[in-house]
Structure formats: C-alpha cells, structure tokens
C-alpha cells in the first residue's frame, strides 16, 4: 500500500466496515512515517503514544455505538502555527522553541469534536514566512515527489505529509498562497477558504487581515469534509463570518459535466511571460478539458494584478511587524538576558528570529514608520481596494476563475536565494488573500521535463466554496 493515495472518506469507509480499527489505521500511518520521514522531514513533533491512545479511545467509542462521527479515529496533520493543547507551538522558530500550547485552536477543537485525531506538528517556514519551507529554524522538508526539491511553503510540512501518505489530510494556513502553492508543488489538493470562513483563534497571527486556515488533502471531497468540520462563526474570533457554513462535502461530489458553468480566464495571469512551458501546457490542456466538459470559458481582466506583490509585501509585513512584537522573551519563549530590559528585548528577538522573519519585520516597521506611512502603507491599502474591485468586477461575468498556481514547478533546494525573486513567484496566489475570496489548487498534470506535479488554481467568489468545490471535483475526476 506504499504509493496509493489515502483519503479521509476512504479511511472512514475502512473504519465503518470494520476492515481496520482506528489503532490499526494509525499504526499503518506510523509505519509509513518510519519508512520515509528520514528523507522527508515533514514533522517537527509527533507523540506516538498520544495518537495511539486517541485511536484506542475512538475504537472504544465506535464499539459502544458512540462514535463522534463517521470520521472518528481518522488522523489529520496540523501545521505548527495552529495550536493544539499540550503540543509544541513553535511556528518553526527558535524564539518559541520551548513553548507548549495551553489550549486548542478552534479549528483543532472542532476536528477533535468530530473524532479526528490531531496528528503531530508539521514543519513550515518560520512564522509562515516563505515559499519553500527552507526558512524553518529546525530542518528542511523535502518534496516527496523528488527529495532534491522543496515542498513549497509555507505549509510545506502539511503538503509533504499528505503527498507522502503520512496522513490522509492536514491543516495548513494561507496568507499569500501558503496552502495552494505547496499543494501544487507536491501534487495534492489545497483549499484557501474565504477570509472569515474559518476561525483564526489559535492560529498564530502572521498578517491578521490575510491569514486563513484551510485543508490539504488528496481529494476535493476531503477538502469539503474538513471545511464542514472547521468552518463557521466563532465567538473567539470577531472576524469569523456569521454566514451559514456546511454542506461542503456534498457540494464537492463530482458531477457528470460542467454545463452551465462560466469559467473566467484572467488575461493578466494567462499572458504572464514568466510561466514555464510545462505549467503553460497543463493550463492549456485543462482549459480544453473544461470546455470538453461543457463549461463556457470567458476572458476576464484583473487590471491591478501587477501591483499585487508590492501591495502584499507592504500590508503583510506591516501587520507582521505588529503581530510579532509580542515575541519578546518575557512571558513565554526564549529569553536571552542582556545588560538591561531594552538589551534583553534586542537580544531575545535578534537571536530568536531567523533571517527572513527579520527582513519582514524590518520592512513592515519601515513602511509604518513616521514619514513613510502614507507613501507605502496607506497607499497599499488603497491599491488593495482596487484589487478587490477587480475581483468583484470579474465575478460579474464568470462563476469561477482558472489560473496557474505558480509560474514553475517545485524548485531545488537553494535555487532561489534572492528574497525578491521568491516573493515574485507568489504572483498568482497573493491577490486572492488581498481580496479575501476563496481558491483551490488541484493537481492537473505533470511537467514533461522534470516529471514534477503541476497544479491549476480555481478562484471562487466570497463564501462561494460550495460551487468552487463542485467545479474542482468534477474537473479533477476528469483529468
């Protein structure tokens, strides 16, 4: 069973039929981890006794007819910035290395209430800042499809975990593409819900107006199953939306055709000269496929696309500089004593944060500093309004949009050393976080030269996940 894709719905079936107990299911995953984790490095921590005990508890609930749901006993990996009670919460940073979470994130608590087992702590770029997982303070994570290549980031551990079959699914977080890009690099499904769809309570904040938790899975239906479990208003997050949330798994069932669906092709994305041939070919093949399935394709325009990277790196770093001010070595985390209080702050933060995090804190502090606020931060917020309007306008003439996820396939370790080059590779994913809409990356093909997976991104209107998942699953089934 080494290479077969595992799904939540498949595992639920095995548990329901009694083919496997939850303990056997979890042991199966632990065996796969034993075989390959040495070369992959998806986990920062995994407490085997704890997950086996949780599986045994699920088995006894099921035996007495008290299963919490049909998923009771199915493991789900958790990105290290989404806290779980009693587990490490380092965000792959030295400054939080000794920290244990005293509480569950709402998304994790909701998974537990369904019987899902929070399964280890998954590696990431430090504080979710990066596109390759190379910014983890602890170790690299390799792409399970080719271990000389990065898994993407920042949810690289989550994507690698699912692609390697270490768990059927994982939670990640997406601030500028951090779920969709690693999903594309590793050949799995990654969903960024609408901003506010999933509570951010217990998600360590990077950029509060952009961050959103979402699932990485091997099927679109599984993404719907997890969204059903974690979505909905939470009194602990005042930005979580009161809109009714549910029915996503049902909506994610593939249909016979895409008749009646209008798929927008944003010309600024498709005409980008930076798109590698393998990515362009997969996109063209997928466009042909949606037409074959009966969808209508329409050209749409997102005119402010070229400014999205600049707006993002102002807004996200400004928010990060404020959010990360709390890590000062006083109440929790690593403290490095200096000659006085100010020096202790400087040393704890200077030695606790890695290079990319420092770069972003400095940029964010700069764009908020006196004399530069209007020119950078305020202006970026205004251009953000224009980017949102672009999306609103485009969705008037289409139901979903289709674009590449990344300009190229997963790159090799160390290949992108220049930070700006790395930022520019986020061009197809970050506008969606600025606009707040939802999006999904699905595996759509392979690059002819490298054999690496290529993803295609579908973008949906705000709170339109049901339709997005339906189109994505129908398309994926036919690819």
């Amino acid at each position: 069973m080494a290479a077969e894709l595992r799904t939540i719905s498949g595992d639920a079936g095995l548990l329901a039929s009694g083919q496997l107990s939850a303990v056997e299911l979890v042991k199966g995953y632990l065996e796969r981890i034993d075989k390959r984790e040495g070369e992959i490095g998806a986990f920062l921590a995994l407490d085997r006794e704890k997950v086996l005990a949780a599986a045994a508890a699920a088995d006894s609930r099921r035996a007495s007819g008290k299963a919490l749901s049909r998923f009771d006993g199915v493991p789900v990996g958790i990105k290290d910035c989404i806290v779980a009670e009693g587990e490490t919460a380092s965000c792959a940073s030295k400054i939080l290395k000794p920290v244990i979470s005293p509480f569950d994130a709402t998304a994790v608590a909701r998974l537990r209430a369904m019987g899902f087992i929070p399964f280890g702590r998954l590696n990431m770029d430090e504080f979710a800042m990066g596109s390759s997982c190379e910014n983890s303070a602890f170790h690299k994570t390799a792409n399970p499809r080719d271990v000389s290549r990065v898994p993407g980031g920042s949810s690289g551990g989550s994507a690698a975990c699912v692609a390697a079959g270490f768990a059927p699914a994982a939670l990640g977080s997406d601030t500028g593409g951090s779920i969709r890009q690693p999903a594309a690099f590793c050949g799995v499904v990654g969903l960024k819900p609408t901003y506010g769809r999933v509570s951010r309570y217990g998600l360590v904040a990077f950029a509060s107006s952009l961050d959103q938790i979402g699932p990485l899975t091997n099927s679109v239906e599984d993404a719907g199953i997890l969204l059903d479990s974690i979505a909905g208003r939470d009194p602990r997050d005042s930005t979580s939306l009161p809109a009714p949330a549910g029915g996503f798994a049902a909506a994610a069932q593939p249909r016979g055709s895409l008749k009646g669906v209008r798929i927008g092709l944003p010309k600024e994305y498709l005409d980008n000269p930076g798109i590698a041939p393998g990515v362009a070919k997969t996109l063209q093949d997928t466009i042909a496929k949606v037409r074959e399935l009966g969808a209508e394709t329409v050209e749409v325009s997102l005119p402010h696309t070229k400014y999205a990277v600049a707006v993002y790196y102002i807004v996200a770093t400004a928010e990060a500089s404020a959010n990360l001010a709390r890590f000062d070595g006083m109440r929790y985390g690593a403290r490095i004593d200096g000659r006085d209080l100010a020096d202790t702050y400087l040393k704890s933060r200077g030695q606790g944060f890695g290079a990319e995090v420092k770069r972003r804190i400095l940029l964010g502090t700069y764009v908020l500093s006196s004399g530069y606020y209007d020119a950078y931060y305020l202006r970026a917020q205004k251009v953000r309004t224009l980017i949102r309007r672009d999306f609103d306008e485009a969705f008037k003439s289409c139901d979903v949009m289709m674009t590449p996820v990344t300009p190229d396939v997963a790159f090799k370790f160390g290949e992108k050393a220049d930070p700006l080059q790395m930022y520019l590779s986020d061009i197809f994913t970050i506008a969606l976080n600025l606009s707040g809409n939802c999006g999904i990356s699905i595996p759509a093909g392979r690059d002819g030269v490298t054999g690496m997976p290529v993803g295609v991104q579908l973008l949906g209107n705000s709170l339109d996940e049901a339709r997005l998942l339906g189109v994505a699953s129908t398309l994926m089934k036919n690819l």
Binding site: P102, Y307, A310, M330, R331, Y332, I361, A380, G436
Partner: protein, 103 residues
C-alpha cells in the same frame, strides 16, 4: 529611488531587533532592493479610493462582558512556558529601572 536608503539601524531599533554586524550588509542590500520594487505603487492613481484594512465586511462585533475563569491546568502550562519564575507562580522580569548608583 530616492527613498531606497533605508536606515537599517534606526528601523531595527524601532523593531527591537539586534542585527549582527555580519547580517547588516545583506539586509541592507535585500531591503533596498525590495523597497525599490514596492515603490512602483507610486504610479497608481488612488485619488478618491478608500483604503481596505480588512477583507471581511464586518464592523463593531460585540460580545457579552463576562468573566471566564482560566482552568488551573491551563495556568500551569502557561507558567511552565515562562522563561523565568519567582515565588512559585510569578513570572520574573528583568529590571526596568536602573538600580541605585547606576543612574
């Protein structure tokens, strides 16, 4: 770009970040490069455009003003996370004011 001479030491001071001498050159180069790039926003006409601070269309979300007790178990974990304790359950901080003779 006129603004690209970002003063790393000043900004690092505002951010309470110690920058090692061997990091400074690289950071200066990277940030000059990035600030040059983001300055392209200057060409966008934003006349009359309202800023977006948030993608969610929500305002003034209230909750009841109630006391919620922290479970003692949670408290213990939080205390264990502290870098230094004193008298059992107090988090020990570095001195804020200089001592006598240190003015």
């Amino acid at each position: 770009m006129a603004d690209s001479a970002i003063d790393i030491e000043y900004v690092a001071g505002l951010a309470r970040l110690e920058i090692a001498p061997d990091e400074k050159e690289r950071l200066q180069r990277d940030l000059d490069h990035i600030v040059d790039y983001i300055a392209e926003l200057g060409e966008v006409d934003v006349t009359g455009v309202e800023p977006t601070a948030h993608a969610a269309a929500l305002s003034n979300v209230w909750r009841e003003d109630e006391i919620v007790e922290t479970p003692s178990q949670m408290r213990e974990v939080m205390l264990k996370n502290a870098p230094a304790l004193m008298d059992g359950d107090l988090v020990k901080m570095p001195r804020i004011l200089p001592g006598e003779g240190e003015h």
